[in-house]
């Protein structure tokens, strides 16, 4: 027995769901939205948020110890990042993603072993329901969800605006655009660009409201449609973010072909999401996202940059390359020959 080995890192990872769930419950309870109004002590928080006194202080001090809250003289307040990203009343709120993770993904991941043994999704599909169908039928929930998508795409959208040679192109359309986070960021930076976003019809009014709030309604418009049953709209640049991983290899290739067909010669396709590193050993988040696709979809999976480049080449793209975006995300770019 090696005296230098300890089981600590194993136990730390295995019990990592504790800290994760504490943050998810804090978002659910509205701790950060409440503390955005100003510092409060544990007794005030307990009363205001209708918590039981038994564990309120342990809960708040846990959030302090993981850097999500700060505490001075017994008063708790938001850390800078949680004040910006977890206050429901700020446009920068990303908690919608975590609310969804808390209500859906946490319990569904409880069946990961069954998913690994059967290959079957473990979400609403197990009882014959479809989360996305139900979501697109409920206007309020859809707006919240699409706004949460903006929160998690914002980092990528900033870097995408920086790193892609937008000055070479005139038009851009984002496929599966949600609120239109990416076209808004790109069009804000490049006044010569126009285009818009493609999504299912119920997303239209939500997209238009978001775009109008940036004064971009004259340059960005909504293209309604279903990317499997309809042709894709044409633009110099098409973008597919957090989209291809939902689908099987055949569906991925079909979507890449439809993008190829919709682009003019010299046009570019940008695919971005948590692209796995080619050696499949460093982008943990990308690998876990692929397991999340196992839980959430019939045939979806995440993939490496090399995988995506090879599929792009197979449908006709040339000059493909991979470039890092924010955090665990990268973009894969392919050019349609002139």
């Amino acid at each position: 027995m090696d005296e230098h080995l300890t089981p600590e890192s194993i136990l730390h990872l295995g019990l990592g769901f504790w800290a994760s769930k504490a943050l998810l419950s804090a978002v659910e309870i509205g701790v950060f939205t409440h503390l955005a109004n100003g510092p409060r002590d544990d007794e005030e928080i307990c009363v205001d948020l209708e918590l039981h006194p038994r564990a309120t202080k342990d809960f708040l001090d846990t959030l302090v110890s993981v850097g999500m809250l700060e505490r001075t003289d017994g008063k708790y307040r938001n850390a800078a990042a949680t004040d910006l990203f977890l206050d429901r009343n700020k446009p920068s709120y990303v908690g919608g993603m975590l609310e969804m993770a808390n209500a859906r993904l946490y319990p569904f991941w409880g069946s990961l072993t069954e998913a690994l043994k059967t290959g079957h999704p473990q979400n609403e599909a197990k009882v014959g329901e479809n989360f996305f169908t139900a979501l697109y039928e409920d206007a309020d929930r859809l707006e919240q969800f699409l706004h949460a998508m903006t929160g998690i795409s914002m980092g990528d959208a900033h870097v995408l605006a920086d790193k892609f040679p937008w000055d070479r192109y005139e038009t851009v359309i984002d496929i599966g655009t949600a609120e239109g986070c990416v076209p808004v960021q790109v069009a804000t930076r490049y006044p010569h660009l126009s285009g818009g976003g493609f999504d299912l019809p119920p997303a239209g009014s939500i997209f238009e409201k978001y775009v109008a709030s940036f004064g971009l309604a004259d340059r960005l418009r909504f293209y309604p449609g279903d990317f499997f049953s309809d042709p894709l709209p044409s633009a110099d640049v098409l973008v597919m973010g957090h989209l291809l991983h939902d689908w099987s290899l055949d569906e991925k290739l079909l979507l890449l072909r439809k993008a190829y067909d919709a682009l003019p010669g010299g046009g570019a396709l940008i695919v971005y999401e948590s692209i796995i590193d080619d050696d499949r050993r460093s982008n943990t988040f990308g690998l876990l996202m692929s397991l999340n696709m196992l839980i959430e979809t019939q045939d979806g999976f995440d993939y490496t940059g090399a995988d995506c480049q090879s599929w792009m080449s197979e449908v006709g793209f040339r000059d493909t390359y991979v470039e890092a975006l924010a955090g665990p995300d990268s973009m894969v770019v392919g050019i349609k020959p002139s």
Copy 2:
């Protein structure tokens, strides 16, 4: 909006249950026990462990990316720590704790918000059952569980043998001893010591088997009893590890008083577990363990070293001090005046 702030650390923590559950499923499926036999490629592992091919490679590469497996030329093998601590066939196995976390704590923590709102446990108690009562009635499960406790106490036991002045004492009894990990480590290091372990009667034969396997049956014996309804046995040093946090403040004080009564003048009580730092802002594991007591017990909670020192003083102990053990754990020591 501060351009330097990103939501990455928030999303990383909020989705931290993904990596955690991947490891728990790997332990459940027996990945590490299987790979202790030698390296295998993903297709062999898929067949041998009856996994579905859809996500086997993503699952294994996730485990590589978090350092739990290694991969060379497409063959997976255990990392040094997982080979030692997660192979069921080695005595150093700590996976029993993670099997329990996977089967029980992961789903129970899904109700953390309800626990915080009501103050009520979220385990078997919700349906009128008691995990520990059922455990002590099933000899095989009890042996596995007590062995898992040895795994998680081993690091502390080594440091406890190093740091406490055992040469000043002749006898030691560990209260709630399980297999007897602590007395075995201490008695192995100090041939002049004798004593044993106190636990509920069903633990007796398991304790005796473990102690005999170290050739210590002549110096360490089992003391059967219930620490609430029976007096504690007497020894120069009494140890209470991972025990006080299960109970209310009144019960904690009662147990400390019973230890005081059982000790001779000059005797020492050692309390050890994941003692929270006095400022309650750095020992995240200790704070989370207190939330785990919310989930698992009627009134239990974890506490700081200063809390424990003050309770010890209240029942009569003097010369109390706190000293770090392994990882997030510390010991609090108190001396009964002569």
